[in-house]
């Protein structure tokens, strides 16, 4: 009997155990869901508040120990004096010099960390190049690699600092060290090339640019710098190719356009036999284009692959002012006859129908309209008689444009007023000097700067107070990218700046130290 009861109890116990396990498993499932929810929440970064950690253990102890060690060391030094380096011990001297140099460098770095200044050397991060890195199974070498990259970036920054302070040789050394640490970064050779260009070591600069291009075949600045190196060596054909490449990569790059123009002119004078029309004038084209687009329209320059793929279509545009002789053939849509023209419409007249047409070289060259507005102002070649007359009347009708709101307006206005120095003078004068930084933002082009400087030289020195000149010079120098613009100044421009600064110096209220700073900024 008791055995039977025992058997039954055992059975019940086994059943109970099985149920318990079953219950546990059920429970586990709900727990699992619950946990996963909490887990995801944690991964998202919710639900945990940051706590302030106590200090690291034994921190003061270590410092104390270090101090103590130093103390004992000092005492020893006191007894023995510093161990002299023997004259024949070259290795020790090498080490000593290296150490001293490093110390010197660090000192310099620490006391002259200048606030952010814009220069031509690249500040951009090399992050994009990091991404291409190959996954390597070998962890150690990967970390090493990472470290080297970091080192290279550090060197680059250091080099850029030197560059800003015009210590090109030191900058070159930094970049070289960076290149050793990370030979895959195209920024380093490109930056070194810039520094070499500054030192007029063109052949080396060219080699560096080629390296940079090898590393990143779509790096416009490398092409631009190589172009400069080539042109400085007189290898104009190659330079021309490089600048064209820059334009391909960065359509509308002002510097490239200017350089290309210069080179082509030079080529033109060299090969006088070549007919003028065969030589392309990208600069004039660009200028004309910007004249064509009206006042309210901002320049849009997109790389080829980003441009709209839709087929081009012709837009009907009201032609306001053009001579029917010109517009009749070219323009679709009706036009407004000349006698309807009012002076206030001056700025509307530029609105051409050519908006939708890509600024392709051929089309513009044939259009003839381009010549009308662009080349003519420069007293260009092959302009029709009628256009000449028209231009004259236009100039007479010219009214003073209002104060510009952005760099683009300023540029267009200045171009229009180019042949009227008095107007340019008045135009510039109406700009409040302190608003210059606002107007230019980040788009101070060297050309514009030089133009402004020329206007100021022609008129301000004679007509204006030295204080105003000073205010203009001062505010211009504060525009970002000013450093870059002055970098390309030639002796002509430097003379102009010098004359202006001399004029400014005659103002009694001007601080001499400020003036010195300005002179430095204008590289006078």
């Amino acid at each position: 009997m008791s055995a039977e009861i025992q058997a039954l109890e055992t059975q019940a116990a086994i059943r109970r155990n099985a149920e318990e396990v079953q219950d546990f498993l059920w429970d586990l499932q709900t727990w699992e869901d619950d946990m996963k929810r909490k887990d995801v929440e944690l991964l998202r970064g919710n639900g945990v508040e940051a706590t302030k950690l106590p200090p690291v253990r034994n921190k003061d102890f270590q410092q104390k120990r270090r101090k103590k060690q130093e103390c004992t060391k000092d005492r020893k030094d006191g007894q023995k004096g510093k161990p002299r380096i023997k004259a024949y011990d070259y290795e020790a001297w090498d080490k000593f010099v290296d150490k001293a140099l490093v110390e010197l460098e660090e000192e310099e770095m620490s006391d002259s960390m200048s606030p952010e200044a814009n220069t031509d050397v690249d500040e951009e991060d090399a992050a994009e190049h990091d991404g291409e890195e190959v996954q390597d199974g070998d962890e150690e070498s990967r970390i090493e690699h990472e470290r080297n990259k970091q080192q290279a970036l550090l060197e680059k920054d250091k080099g850029n600092d030197y560059f800003k302070r015009c210590q090109y040789q030191a900058a070159i050394e930094c970049y070289s060290r960076g290149m050793q640490a990370d030979p895959e970064n195209p920024l380093l050779p490109a930056n070194r090339a810039m520094a070499l260009l500054k030192l007029q070591r063109y052949v080396e600069a060219e080699v560096d640019c080629s390296t940079a291009i090898l590393l990143d075949p779509l790096y416009p600045k490398a092409f631009a710098r190589r172009g400069m190196a080539y042109s400085a060596q007189g290898r104009l054909q190659e330079a021309c190719k490089d600048f064209e490449m820059v334009l391909k990569l960065e359509p509308g790059n002002k510097q490239a356009l200017a350089e290309l123009d210069k080179i082509l002119k030079e080529l033109g004078t060299r090969e006088r036999g070549l007919s003028e029309t065969d030589v392309m004038h990208p600069k004039t084209q660009a200028k004309d284009l910007s004249t064509l687009t009206g006042r309210a329209i901002r320049p849009i320059s997109k790389p080829v692959h980003l441009r709209s793929q839709k087929p081009l279509r012709i837009i009907d545009v009201q032609e306001v002012e053009e001579d029917p002789q010109f517009s009749g053939k070219k323009f679709v849509g009706k036009y407004v006859s000349e006698n309807e023209l009012k002076p206030s419409e001056e700025y509307v007249h530029d609105t051409h129908k050519d908006f939708a047409i890509k600024p392709s070289v051929g089309a513009l060259h044939q259009s003839g309209v381009v010549k009308n507005t662009g080349t003519q102002q420069r007293g260009g070649i092959g302009v029709g008689e009628a256009a000449m007359v028209k231009e004259a009347t236009r100039l007479l009708n010219l009214t003073l444009p209002p104060t510009p709101l952005n760099a683009f307006q300023l540029e267009t206005d200045l171009r229009k007023l180019r042949s009227r120095p008095d107007m340019s003078h008045r135009y510039l004068k109406q700009i409040e000097p302190t608003t210059l930084t606002k107007i230019f933002q980040n788009s101070l082009e060297p050309d514009v700067l030089y133009q402004i400087l020329h206007i100021m030289e022609q008129s301000f020195i004679v007509h204006e107070e030295p204080a105003l000149t000073f205010a203009f010079m001062q505010n211009l120098s504060e525009v970002s990218r000013f450093d870059m613009a002055t970098m390309f100044m030639e002796t002509k421009e430097t003379c102009v700046a010098n004359a202006l600064l001399d004029h400014a110096a005659s103002c009694p209220t001007v601080n001499t130290t400020k003036l010195m700073e300005l002179r430095k900024k204008y590289r006078v």
Partner: protein
């Protein structure tokens, strides 16, 4: 079968997964249903695998291979926000990994000359007062305490010059009940157990158990030292009452024979610290319960206080593997859920029932 056996907690292998590498350690990721396994590939590289419990299945979520084999890992010093895993490897490098981005370690320092056998952490996950710290023990004979905010160890315990360097097999944190107090207990291959006081930076206590110490663990890290379990090579384990230290005799202890083979590990149940598991060289797991004596201390003839050891009772023993169980971890979030790894190249998820009623 007698009734007594049926009234005990049951240990059931819930999930079993074979692996293709030698696995040394496993850890539950806090506040998750995920599990990390660490080990050594046959080709000599280290492997870290992440498993997730999903509907009665152990799903491999992530796998990270590194140059050197991993020996041990802990989440003890991690905060809940990022749950970084600290590992020790064969080359003597301590690394801290962000498991979401395990390509590069968050922290890495190679200060041990030889393999790091053991690691423990405190101050993270809300367990233990004070700064998060890690401790590593290595074959080079040193025990180093780390603060992951600094590259150098904050404390380094090594044998005096001239002394033989013993292989440190196990380390554990304890006594972290306020910002200053903290202890590290280390066990060595010659049977030495040393208790280092990190506040006074001194050796507080040492003893020798004649056989190599495979594992030591405090019942809780975040209270005034209470109990310490130390397992040894020849199949015994000792439970020390750490509350009362006698000037001469040290701490009182009770010794129990178990497993008939090396006791590889001991782990306290986080939800009830009187219960702990030991794992054996024959692939067995024993669940124990410690019982306190009526009086935890008494005065000796000199009037010094000395501790009185309690007793341990075996709750359950079960064989789950054919090879030694090298890694064992209770889930901190679910009572009765645990995982173990063994040298038969497998990871198992076990459930232990009736732990709340014992």
């Amino acid at each position: 079968m007698n009734m007594a056996a049926l009234d005990k907690p049951q240990v059931v292998v819930h999930l079993h997964r074979s692996l293709d590498y030698t696995v040394f350690d496993c850890r539950w990721i806090p506040r998750s249903a995920r599990l990390v396994c660490l080990g050594n590939r046959a080709r000599g590289s280290g492997l870290l695998q992440l498993f997730e419990l999903t509907r009665g299945e152990l799903k491999l979520v992530k796998e990270v291979e590194k140059a050197t084999p991993f020996k041990c890992g802990t989440f003890g010093a991690a905060n809940l926000a990022d749950r970084h895993l600290a590992t020790g490897d064969f080359s003597g490098t301590l690394s801290v990994w962000n498991l979401e981005a395990p390509e590069v370690p968050v922290f890495s320092a190679k200060k041990h000359n030889e393999i790091i056998n053991c690691i423990d952490g405190v101050g993270g996950l809300g367990i233990g007062e004070g700064a998060p710290e890690l401790v590593t023990g290595s074959r080079d004979g040193t025990v180093k305490v780390w603060d992951p905010r600094q590259k150098n160890p904050v404390a380094n315990m090594e044998p005096m010059e001239g002394e033989t360097k013993r292989d440190c097999w196990t380390v554990a944190f304890g006594n972290a009940y306020n910002q200053q107090e903290r202890c590290v207990c280390a066990g060595y291959d010659n049977g030495d157990i040393k208790l280092f006081d990190l506040r006074t930076m001194s050796l507080r206590w040492e003893t020798n158990l004649k056989n190599g110490i495979c594992s030591v663990e405090f019942d809780r890290k975040d209270i005034n030292m209470n109990k310490l379990v130390a397992t040894s090579l020849e199949g015994k384990f000792h439970v020390f009452d750490m509350r009362t230290q006698h000037p001469k005799k040290g701490f009182a202890s009770v010794t129990e024979k178990a497993h008939k083979s090396t006791v590889w590990l001991t782990r306290h149940l986080p939800q009830n610290r009187e219960i702990f598991a030991t794992t054996g060289g024959a692939g067995t797991i024993h669940i124990w319960k410690y019982g306190y004596p009526p009086q935890r201390s008494r005065k000796d003839s000199n009037g010094d206080r000395m501790g009185v050891a309690g007793c341990v009772t075996l709750l359950q023993n079960v064989g789950v593997a054919t090879q030694p169980i090298s890694g064992f971890d209770w889930s901190p979030d679910k009572q009765g859920l645990c995982a173990c790894t063994s040298f038969d190249q497998s990871v198992r998820v076990l459930i232990v029932t009736r732990l709340n009623t014992v």
